[in-house]
């Protein structure tokens, strides 16, 4: 874990110079102390769709959930007419949180605890306690109008039961933002299905949030770092599959297709396939081909900080937010279909051993970001090589590529103006 707190020399973004094209990522991009503030303004509050919550978490009017957009606290609430509103969780009076808890049901309105200013379910300021004072004394000046004040609002949209929000006016519709290929993978897993949360955990990562954003898009590392499948001879990079990058560069899909050949020698001699280990309980991998397409593993990323994953029959949303320049909160939301049979539900619980902070496949993702942070402690002038599969950001029929990582940076640079 990084204990280094010395700021890089770079004083402001104007001094930050990107050395060339997308095949080199300067290490200051993970470490510069000025970047979080700019990323908040230009990325998280820019023209992106931020994941907010599941619709099923706020089914009825007055149900609400608190979350963050980047580092900005936000409330998502179901209004009386069934629409979903979202607004900054910051009182217009003196800035206290309006909602303290994580979630609630059936609220009529929101009242700030500090001085009881009151907001409706859309975040409009409705009343100010003692606005006209007490016994003719004190109170707000006569010209103070509640409708002139209130927290910033987000526009919301939904996609197959997921709620997204944006602070920007010019964010394109989410279907356009994702592009048709990425959208099709949302349809594959979520289309026409009712989903429910079956587990929710936070993994605290010792690294900058963008190292995790890269990791989720990095189809190259999957079978090299994660040896679970290779050790038990269950998965190979030479298996079918590929990588799709959205037109805006920031979103992607990585897919693996079930193997066809019985014998695969592409990993022989590598650390990952040294011995012949076998699982004792094969129910860890007893996949049912739910979508009849033989896709075993699908990772969908949405710029900037959201992942939809289906691995075998396990399904998860991942949502990661910066908690400091070298700290990231990775939230895992395990979900299932409401109409699962009991057998399928049990199967999902077993397959979920692959994901999360203790996941056979994902536990390594929790620590590699920290390994990079520690490796680059004094290397602000250095750069990472991101050149697998060339220099472009186009889709490729292989996972031995870093195209989606470059796609992330192309969108990041465009929005940051760097």
């Amino acid at each position: 874990m990084s204990t280094d707190t010395i700021s890089p020399d770079h004083a402001s973004v104007s001094n930050l110079c990107w050395p060339g094209d997308l095949t080199r990522v300067p290490f200051w991009a993970y470490r510069d102390r000025d970047l979080p503030k700019l990323e908040q303004q230009r990325i998280f509050e820019g023209a992106v769709w931020n994941f907010l919550c599941l619709e099923s978490e706020i089914p009825d009017p007055g149900d609400w959930r608190a979350t963050v957009v980047g580092r900005t606290p936000v409330v998502v609430a179901r209004d009386a007419d069934g629409t979903i509103a979202a607004f900054e969780n910051r009182c217009a009076h003196r800035g206290a949180l309006i909602c303290l808890d994580d979630s609630g049901r059936g609220a009529k309105d929101f009242q700030c605890v500090y001085h009881a200013w009151c907001y409706d379910l859309r975040g409009n300021l409705r009343s100010v306690a003692f606005q006209r004072g007490v016994n003719g004394k004190g109170g707000m000046p006569p010209g103070f109008r509640v409708q002139d004040h209130g927290p910033r609002k987000l526009r919301t949209t939904t996609l197959h039961g997921l709620v997204f929000g944006t602070f920007a006016n010019d964010t394109p519709p989410i279907e356009e933002f994702l592009g048709s290929d990425v959208l099709a993978r949302f349809d594959r897993v979520l289309g026409g299905r009712k989903i429910e949360i079956i587990g929710r955990f936070v993994e605290v990562l010792p690294n900058n949030w963008k190292l995790y954003a890269e990791n989720a898009r990095d189809s190259y590392h999957a079978s090299l770092l994660h040896l679970f499948f290779a050790t038990f001879r269950l998965n190979r990079l030479s298996q079918g599959g590929g990588l799709t990058v959205s037109p805006n560069g920031g979103c992607s899909v990585s897919e693996t297709i079930a193997p066809t050949e019985a014998v695969d020698r592409s990993y022989d001699g590598m650390r990952s396939a040294a011995d012949d280990y076998r699982l004792e309980d094969l129910r860890m991998i007893d996949v049912v081909d739910e979508h009849l397409d033989r896709v075993r593993h699908q990772i969908v990323t949405v710029f900037p900080n959201f992942v939809l994953q289906k691995t075998q029959n396990a399904m998860a949303l991942r949502f990661f937010t910066p908690a400091g320049v070298d700290r990231t909160n990775l939230e895992w939301i395990f979900f299932a279909y409401v109409d699962d049979t009991p057998e399928m539900r049990k199967r999902r619980l077993r397959h979920l051993n692959l994901g999360g902070p203790a996941g056979f496949v994902s536990m390594e993702d929790g620590c590699v970001g920290g390994f990079v942070e520690r490796g680059i402690t004094t290397a602000e002038d250095g750069a990472a090589i991101v050149e697998m599969g060339g220099a472009g950001v186009e889709s490729q029929p292989t996972r031995a590529t870093e195209a989606a990582v470059r796609g992330f940076w192309s969108m990041w640079r465009g929005m940051m103006g760097i």
Binding site: G199, F201, V202, E203, D281, L352, P357, A358, M363, E364
Partner: protein
Amino acid sequence: MSAVLRVAELNAAYAQTIDSDRLESWPDFFIEDCLYKITSADNHKRGYSAGIVYADSRAMLRDRVTALRTANIYERQSYRHIIGLPLIGATNPSGIAAETPFLVARIMRDGRTDVFATGVYLDVIRDDARGLRFAERVVVCDSRHFDTLLAIPL
């Protein structure tokens, strides 16, 4: 010996097995048809069924040990379990119910020691000719935050 003492002794042996890195013996504390799950108090309260570890057979526990030994990459680390006294509940055909608080410190390769997890074990303990073994051990962590990763079982 009272149930409290017998369960406390079982927990002491369980802790020593994990903390002294004898993970290969850890599955032996469970019956073949067991449930071992790690979750958080918040998840438990909401009735969420998924855990960050979910094993419903002893074979799955052995698979986890094999994976930790041969497949998974993580920095060298160890735990120190401090396990409180069990509160013994009802005894029924499936076993003795017990609820026991724990604190686990994690010692990292670079020398750092942190409180890694606190919580309670919610157990159902089979008592037969082979002694006490867990039919069910649900590890309910107080916090839903897990630092970096969880490799070694709690």
